[in-house]
């Protein structure tokens, strides 16, 4: 019958399977009859947190992700403690060991992985456990109560976490490892050696380059013997030699498997009705044992199961962090340098810091860090963005010194911070509150932390610290950001996808764009609409009709909203040069409209504050009559061109910086940019106009003009990069227009020049703006063309009646004071 819903059966009640169901319920609730089988007799819990449970830093209840009520509320039939033993692909049903049968229209295999149990004599003795599930943890805890000595076989991530947990429970723990140093898959020999030393100081004992020959004992385990004959005693033996995708069930059903269940970019197995996600999967030859890839896979699988059919999983870059409190290590990518690679090394033995970066063709391929891992997420991002590092190399090893250090005196080791330390200065959120939310509310991503705690949701300067807290709390399973981040929850598309689609498909309005890209909401949201409006406007100057409903209030009414709902008015003062007559005009208008605060701004202008909305058009009208235009102090647009008095007055001035600043401002005013854009021109290297913290800065010298880009004096102070030196004012104008246009066309909406340049690399900007004369000329021409359509004064238009409804009340009821 067609009125029944399609049936979705999920094998595996773990993190991958349930994350897929959560994504599916978000996308199309009530569209499926869902049945879930889990072989563990428990609700879905966060496997990542087994280590803190083992060490006693957390209780099992705190790790539950979806309790039984959740299944009930979403009408999911849950069978726990039931192992599916057969998939009948011909009749489309699955069968459990007990003979319970469930028919499916779509099947999701999320069987995860199994611990590798080495074929050693004595493996079946009581007291030998794996480290994979809550059951294993319970067995270990029971053993820890009675026994004294534990041996962990396997010195990888899992083995060390188990060893550390047992040691914190009071056991004497030895780690047996086949290789010369622990975590050889994540660390090189130096990093591994440092880790070993640190763990030994905490009481662990290492037996390296040892192979276990037999597990000793009659009734239960009493010890192990190595190949070389040495024996050590043990009351508990933990097998942590690694994991293997759990594929037996899929294999027996004739589904193509290699090391894992082979899936396509849509997370489908060779049987198109059957999907698979998580650790059991092999995608493009890779298997994954961490949580971050699993989340990306879950989103893709859900998208296809829900028949949206849009997304592709293209593999994940993964990074690792050990969840042992007080030990900082980070590893990502390929850190064993090959012949074509270069290594950058930093070693400070007394601080216990070691960093190794592996580069190829000036791009980061891998990183190992020990002792100081605060830059881990940054390196990881550089790696995934493929940023050209030729300009950064010199400083690369010292890290992104600006990372989240605003107002914190550079304190960056989140692990050592007190719970009461304030992380987010804008919203007053402390470390303790963030960590509690991550654990208590089961948060995995930066966006989730922002939504629940507001930390880093305002200015974003503490983003690095919040990410470090996530990494620290979740351990190896937190990966900074998905490699391709959707603009917002209305879409799966990233900023670049949208920019490309606009030019490729020639789309010229927002409804068509949303339709072509399968927007999930009718008319977007406050995040994507302004971005789309900006991209369309940049792509089609003079053709696209600006959508005022997709503008933030400030840009919609051309004034800056203040905390009490009044507005500020800041007229443009070209190059910061004014006159008594202009000042008199401003003074008279300020008096007439009873302006409560008159403030000299940082951009060399005069700000008038406390204006009510209905007074704006009138005030603008008078300013326009006095010869002023809008200062765009409210917009993601060219703000000001700050200057010093230069050679006209200053005894040190080398060029006419004031005159040049005014020329630059006359050329650039009125342009919309991805984020606000500030310019300055200084008349000599004393740099009184602070040109080297602007988006575009000119420092005049005797022989010409030095051009600097990508500076920022705000949240993260960033000094500009030197772009090039030119000889004439005309050349300054051309480089300025070309640089702005490249930024306008290619940066993400809401991305300042500083992070944009850090993302694409200065070499890229140089190549387009400096090295290729032809490209520079083309960019400049496109900038000027765009300016032909955007240099009308928005204040004048509104003073003359445009958008009058914005400034007037619809009705007045009763008597209003």
């Amino acid at each position: 019958m067609m009125d029944t819903k399609p049936r979705l059966v999920v094998i595996g009640n773990g993190m991958a399977g349930m994350r897929t169901i959560e994504e599916l319920l978000k996308m199309s609730p009530d569209d499926f009859d869902i049945t879930v089988f889990g072989s563990e007799p428990r609700p879905n819990y966060n496997r990542i947190l087994l280590s803190p449970v083992l060490s006693g830093e957390m209780r099992f209840e705190e790790t539950i992700l979806n309790d039984l009520n959740w299944y009930e509320e979403n009408r999911i039939a849950l069978h726990v403690g039931r192992t599916v033993s057969k998939i009948d692909r011909f009749r489309c049903h699955v069968e459990t060991e007990e003979g319970l049968r469930a028919p499916y229209d779509r099947l999701l295999i999320a069987t995860g992985s199994n611990p590798i149990m080495l074929p050693i004599p004595g493996m079946d003795l009581p007291g030998v456990v794996a480290y994979r599930s809550m059951d294993d943890v319970e067995k270990m805890l029971a053993a820890a109560e009675s026994g004294k000595r534990a041996v962990v076989i396997g010195g990888g991530l899992l083995g060390l976490e188990a060893a550390n947990g047992l040691s914190m429970r009071g056991m004497k723990v030895s780690v047996v490892h086949l290789c010369d140093w622990p975590m050889e898959r994540q660390l090189d020999s130096v990093g591994g050696g440092l880790l070993k030393d640190a763990l030994e100081r905490r009481g662990l004992r290492f037996y390296l380059s040892r192979q276990t020959e037999a597990i000793l004992g009659e009734e239960r385990v009493t010890g192990v013997r190595f190949k070389d004959g040495e024996e050590i005693e043990a009351d508990l033996l933990v097998m942590a030699a690694g994991i293997r995708p759990s594929i037996a069930l899929a294999k027996s059903a004739g589904i193509h498997c290699e090391r894992g269940i082979v899936v396509s970019d849509t997370m489908q197995t060779y049987d198109p009705k059957i999907y698979s996600v998580g650790e059991c999967v092999q995608h493009r030859g890779q298997t994954y044992g961490l949580v971050a890839p699993l989340f990306e896979q879950a989103r893709v699988a859900a998208n296809h199961i829900a028949r949206y059919g849009r997304m592709r999983y293209e593999g994940s870059a993964v990074s690792t962090k050990l969840k042992v409190t007080g030990i900082d290590l980070f590893s990502a990518g390929n850190f064993n340098a090959g012949e074509e690679d270069e290594e950058l090394l930093l070693q400070d033995a007394s601080r216990g810091v070691y960093k190794k970066l592996v580069l190829r063709d000036n791009k980061l391929r891998g990183a190992v860090m020990y002792g100081d891992t605060v830059d881990g997420p940054w390196y990881f991002q550089l790696m995934r963005d493929g940023t050209d590092l030729s300009e950064l190399r010199e400083h690369l090893l010292f890290g992104q010194v600006h990372l989240g250090d605003a107002g914190r005196g550079g304190a960056s080791n989140v692990a050592n911070m007190a719970d009461s330390a304030e992380i987010c200065g804008c919203n007053g959120v402390c470390k303790g509150a963030i960590v509690d939310a991550i654990i208590g509310k089961k948060l995995f991503t930066l966006e989730e932390v922002r939504a629940h705690t507001k930390a880093s949701a305002s200015c974003g300067s503490c983003t690095g610290l919040v990410e470090a807290l996530l990494a620290n709390t979740l351990g190896g399973d937190y990966s900074a950001r998905p490699s391709k981040k959707p603009i917002c929850s209305c879409t799966e598309h990233a900023h670049q996808d949208v920019q490309q689609a606009i030019s490729r498909l020639g789309i010229k309005n927002m409804p068509d764009l949303m339709r072509a890209l399968d927007w999930k909401t009718a008319d977007g949201c406050h995040v994507c609409r302004p971005a789309l409006n900006y991209y369309l406007m940049t792509a089609w100057p003079g053709i696209y009709q600006d959508d005022s409903r997709s503008r933030f209030i400030n840009e919609r009414v051309h004034a800056n909203i203040q905390k009490d709902g009044t507005y500020s008015v800041i007229p443009r003062i070209w190059g910061g040069v004014t006159s008594p007559k202009e000042l008199r005009t401003i003074a008279e208008i300020a008096e007439k409209y009873r302006v409560s605060t008159v403030h000299i701004t940082g951009g060399q202008r005069i700000g008038l504050y406390g204006i009510s909305k209905e007074n704006l058009p009138g005030m603008w009208g008078e300013l326009v009559q006095g010869g002023f235009v809008s200062g765009h102090a409210y917009g993601k647009a060219l703000r000001t061109v700050k200057t010093c008095v230069g050679s006209e007055w200053c005894r040190f001035g080398t060029q006419d910086s004031t005159g040049l600043g005014i020329r630059v401002e006359k050329m650039t005013w009125g342009s919309w940019t991805p984020h606000k854009f500030k310019i300055a021109v200084s008349g000599c290297p004393r740099n009184c106009a602070e040109a080297t913290i602007k988006d575009f800065g000119v420092v005049c010298v005797d022989s010409g003009y030095e051009i600097h880009v990508g500076g920022n004096g705000g949240i993260k102070v960033r000094v500009t990069d030197f772009l090039c030196k030119v000889e004439s004012e005309e050349a300054v104008l051309e480089h300025c227009g070309a640089f702005m246009q490249l930024y306008r066309e290619e940066a993400n909406y809401m991305e300042r020049t500083a992070p944009w340049i850090e993302r694409v690399g200065l070499a890229y900007v140089r190549q387009h703006v400096v090295e290729s004369e032809k490209e520079r000329a083309e960019l400049y021409e496109r900038f000027l063309e765009s300016q032909r359509h955007s240099q009308d004064d928005p204040w004048k238009a509104r003073a003359e009646g445009k958008d009058a409804h914005e400034y007037a009340a619809l009705a007045t009821l009763g008597e209003v004071k």
């Binding site: 409903r549 409804h805 009763g814």
Partner: protein, 107 residues
Amino acid sequence: MNWIQVGLLSDIPRQGSRVIKTSGGEIALFRSVDDEVFALDDRCPHKGGPLSQGIVHGHRVTCPLHSWVIALESGEAVAPDAGCAHRHEVRQAHGLLFLNFDGELEN
């Protein structure tokens, strides 16, 4: 019940809003993309921001001050934020808008 005609549907831009001044404060009227009209006190439950100045999307508005998202039907903040903007009844008939102007706002 005190239904008062306050204007025309066409007075409010689609995906936009207009303000009605009353002695007890301002009321924001929102018009969604599908031409439904909603009325809320023009004060965000967070820090009192003027909701009328926000971006309207779907049946929601985002406050211009700190980007709280408020559901227009109920006035409730969208989770995980919590709070509520007072809601007023509003009806459309033949392109005219009527507001149920409750006592608490009258002189």
